[in-house]
Amino acid sequence: MSDVIAAGRTPFEALNGLSMPGLSAAPDRTRYILRGRAGILAPVAEVLGFALPTDACRATGSDQRHALWLGPDEWLLLSPAGDRLDKALAFAIGDVAHSVVEVSHRQVGIVLDRPDAAAVLSVGCALDLDLAAFPVGMCTRTMFAKTEIVLWRTGENVFQIEVWRSFADYLWRYLVLAGAEFA
């Protein structure tokens, strides 16, 4: 079913009508994994229009583009579908050692937007999602039940989740079934 989900990012409600208030598919995105030595920071900022986050587990961005810190030399770049950055990045970065790999199709985005979003996620995520411990703007790879996700808090009660496409069904089902108790 993952293909149904992913092809043109059909809304997840396609999953046997499994749905939950506040749970939706994120809009189509272009995604890159950017790796590289410190020298890439300046040129990349030029291309993106903002600086890459260098604080652990933080995201930076404009309203269109976002950069999520995944590791000390690893960022997930998110931009609207069609906003291709690879050539511009390669050109700007030039000789500084780096790697840009497109992963637009590798993963899908899910948005959880509801007043009790953090509690709902706590059915499968072992992180402390209290605002003090996981503030707006924080992002990280972590585990949700048996699947790895990238969890990104974009609002007090809004979480963006990036998950590999073949794990999306599992994640969605789990959230909907476990979320039932929150009604």
């Binding site: 652990a56 587990c57 995944l70 000390p72 072992a126 990280t140 790879r141």
Partner: protein, 96 residues
């Protein structure tokens, strides 16, 4: 489920990590020049102490970095975690 302090991401639940065995075992520069005993030592022989143990962890489902830790294997309490390449902290310093 242990809490492990990733030197990059801070305290995180054990399920995000992979264990990497004994730390500070460097792969020989030129393995082919090694005698069989030395190679066997590198390949298989491991400290398995009851007490303080320097071990490798990887924040697999986090920043994905390998790092090292000092942990007491009789209590599972961590004394220190530090980045790959950094020397094993001496305890006096850690306690201080």
């Amino acid at each position: 489920m242990l809490v492990i302090t990733c030197p990059y991401c801070g305290p995180r639940p054990e399920i995000e990590f992979a264990h990497g065995g004994e730390a500070h075992i460097a792969r020989p520069q030129d393995p082919s020049s090694l005698g069989v005993e030395d190679w066997t030592e590198f390949l298989y022989m491991r400290a398995n102490p009851k007490g303080l143990h320097a071990e490798r962890w990887r924040h697999l489902h986090g920043c994905a970095r390998f790092f090292n830790a000092l942990r007491d294997t009789t209590t599972d309490q961590f004394v220190a975690t530090y980045r790959t390449g950094e020397p094993r902290p001496d305890l006096a310093a850690v306690k201080a």
